[in-house]
């Protein structure tokens, strides 16, 4: 493992790859900072661009953007109480009060250090746990892979909003994935004689349309509002503060890794759980919400650790641990690669280069965050009338460039309108991507499973691993239904009492 990691490190340290990583970190920083562009949208826009790159460089770029975006959400959370990403919501609870007290630089310093520590712990866990989990998964057969796909689909439970909408989205994605020639029989499904649909609906038109185009449509309704410029002096290494948050950093990073590895829970939950645990263990719980240093350290170390943890099931099992990793899985498929236990054996060079890249990214965050924050206030003032047209053009040209197909461009625009309309009902659009990505695996493995058992579905429950995975899926879904019901019942009981 160490040899492979060192080999990966030597790949990353090549000048061109270092340049790619540096660019990725800055792109990721911008993802959390510029109005109207989130990290996911940047990953989506860059997906077609990476198509022309070597797979190693492409995935170093995409995963580094993913890693640095989780960090950059804290900047606006601390300075403006407007979390740049959902993972940074808890950071604003104590970060913004510190800014109000004139300690924005100190708060940002704690956040940066905590993010880097959490990210490093998460990356080490990724390097250690992925091969272990993949070696277990090598024993998997069709029933286990089908159960894994179902477990991957339970991520819809963590996407926020109403579960029923997530289930509809996943079913829609699974159905869209059936369009094209059936790989097992060669029968055309839903192509209606259109040759462009023979190979199915491409991931790029769907992802770019649902995420980037719909976002530009939504943002085009907003006026040009700018934040007032803020000048801060960031101090990252402050020994008294480090002593104060040391225990919190260790506990929250470990918690984040564990929560991140579990499919369907995600970095936002990791941040919330670690924050509440820190309050529970603190000798001064009354200081939280008023500018406590541990209140920034806990969520920031946990969410960065969880973001790395979410990559473990992606690389080891081929199932996404979160919405963004579902898009990264789509990128692997687009490059003709299928993450999973065999992928660990056949593409170890690529995987360890990506791991080494993520390892380096955490140090880059430490090094580049200070100058970036200095530039940040200026970036906030880039008007959307400049960004909007550029994003749309990148979407069109990027989608076209994947297979030189104008049909894909029209498909992308159609999905853009669909994405915009779905946002009107707070629809978790990423559930469609989950279904689209996991659909081919789920269908082919179910059909192989039924062939193995001569049509007997009980095979799924008679094999211990597939049974366990299916039970976990059911538990996760039942929990997603039961928790809000219990909350509602409690609110009703409180209301009736008062």
């Amino acid at each position: 493992m160490l040899d492979s990691f060192l080999a990966g490190l030597s790949v990353v340290l090549q000048p061109m790859n270092l340049l790619i990583l540096t660019s990725a970190v800055f792109i990721g920083f911008i993802g959390g900072a510029l109005p109207g562009i989130s990290g996911v949208i940047l990953v989506v826009i860059l997906l077609p661009v990476t198509y022309g790159m070597e797979p190693t460089q492409a995935f170093m770029l995409l995963t580094a953007i993913y890693g640095s975006t989780v960090f950059s959400g804290l900047i606006t959370a601390i300075l403006y109480r407007a979390p740049g990403t959902p993972e940074a919501v808890m950071t604003s609870f104590d970060g913004y009060p510190m800014t109000q007290q004139g300690e924005a630089g100190k708060a940002l310093g704690i956040g940066i250090l905590s993010s880097a520590v959490g990210g490093l712990v998460g990356t080490i866990a990724l390097i250690v746990c992925t091969p272990l989990l993949a070696s277990v998964a090598l024993k998997f057969s069709s029933p286990e892979y089908f159960a894994l796909a179902i477990l991957g689909l339970t991520v819809v439970a963590s996407l926020g909003g109403r579960l029923i909408l997530g289930l509809i989205g996943a079913a829609m994605g699974l159905f869209i994935a059936t369009i094209g020639i059936d790989p097992l029989t060669g029968v055309s499904r839903y192509t209606f004689g259109n040759l462009n649909l023979s190979e199915g609906v491409g991931l790029i038109p769907v992802i770019v349309g649902l995420f980037a185009v719909s976002e530009v449509m939504k943002r085009s309704l907003d006026g040009e509002v700018h934040q007032p410029p803020t000048r801060v002096k960031v101090k990252i290494f402050d020994m008294p503060i480090l002593r104060k948050i040391g225990v919190t950093l260790s506990r929250s990073s470990l918690l984040g890794v564990i929560i991140g590895i579990l499919p369907g829970i995600g970095a936002s939950t990791a941040a919330m759980v670690s924050y509440s645990e820190t309050v529970r263990w603190s000798k001064h719980p009354e200081q939280f919400g008023k500018g406590a240093a541990e209140g920034i350290a806990a969520p920031e170390s946990a969410n960065n650790a969880a973001a790395m943890g979410a990559l473990v099931p992606l690389f080891a099992l081929g199932i996404p641990g979160s919405g963004t990793t579902a898009i990264i899985l789509g990128a692997f498929i687009m490059h003709g690669l299928q993450p999973g236990p065999l992928f660990m054996m056949t593409s170890a060079d690529l995987i360890y280069a990506v791991f080494a890249g993520l390892f380096i990214v955490n140090f880059m965050i430490l090094a580049f965050s200070k100058p970036f924050i200095a530039l940040f206030t200026r970036l906030l003032n880039v008007p959307y009338s400049v960004l909007g047209p550029i994003i749309i053009m990148c979407c069109i040209v990027g989608t076209y460039s994947v297979s030189n197909s104008m049909f894909d461009v029209w498909l992308m625009l159609g999905f853009g309108v669909l994405g915009y309309l779905l946002e009107k009902i707070d629809f978790p659009t990423v559930s469609i991507i989950l279904g689209l990505v996991l659909g081919p695996i789920a269908e082919s493995e179910l059909r192989r499973t039924l062939s193995m058992s001569q049509g007997d579905l009980s095979i799924l429950l008679s094999r211990p691993i597939s049974a366990t995975l299916l039970i976990i899926s059911v538990v996760l879904l039942v929990a997603a239904i039961a928790v809000p019901l219990r909350k509602r019942a409690r609110i009703r009981a409180t209301a009736s009492r008062s």
Binding site: T85, T185, V187, F192, L221, S322, P389, I390, M393
Partner: protein, 176 residues
């Protein structure tokens, strides 16, 4: 983690700007899904079943399961939305609709932008990428609120240089 569908700093989300309440929108959505799923059943039932192909399970079973699931989920959503609509109607009066606002340019800017994007896609194939891009960048910048000609021209120049630079010169990808 879940992508950040959020308001950027200082930019309010307009999710509920529509004159229609959420329950009405959800009801409409569930009806559309039910109709689409029923329509998709027609070609699905024409696909070969297990008895018609050499494999143990035919290409019909999986999409059929998905369509039944879609029908079940959307019917559940429809019933739930109707129930909530009745509860809301019983407790509150609907606010008057903002009809005049919905007809203004600002309220329809996103649809105009989409129409311009479609026009750009068509124009690109007729007059070439470069000229179409310049026209599109100028038009969209203006639509999105830019009124300073320096900024509008800068947007067009940045767009052309960025796309030509990245896609053509750096990655060697042909443009539409």
């Amino acid at each position: 983690m879940l992508p950040a569908y959020r308001s950027a700093p200082g930019h309010p989300i307009h999710a509920n700007r529509s004159v229609y309440p959420m329950h009405t929108r959800l009801t409409l959505f569930s009806i559309v899904v039910i109709v689409a799923a029923l329509a998709a059943l027609v070609p699905t039932l024409q696909l070969p079943g297990s008895a018609d192909v050499s494999t143990f399970i035919g290409p019909q079973l999986w999409p059929l399961i998905l369509l039944i699931a879609l029908l079940a989920f959307s019917s559940w959503l429809l019933l739930d939305s109707r129930k909530r609509t009745h509860q809301t109607c019983a407790t509150t009066d609907e606010a008057p609709s903002a009809a005049s606002h919905s007809l203004s340019l600002a309220a329809n800017r996103h649809w105009l932008m989409m129409a311009m994007t479609i026009a750009y896609t068509v124009l690109m194939q007729m007059i070439g990428f470069l000229l179409a891009t310049v026209i599109f960048a100028v038009a969209i910048s203006w639509l999105l609120g830019a009124r300073h000609w320096g900024l509008i021209i800068a947007t067009a120049v940045i767009a052309v240089v960025l796309i030509q630079g990245v896609f053509v010169f750096l990655l060697g990808i042909p443009l539409p």
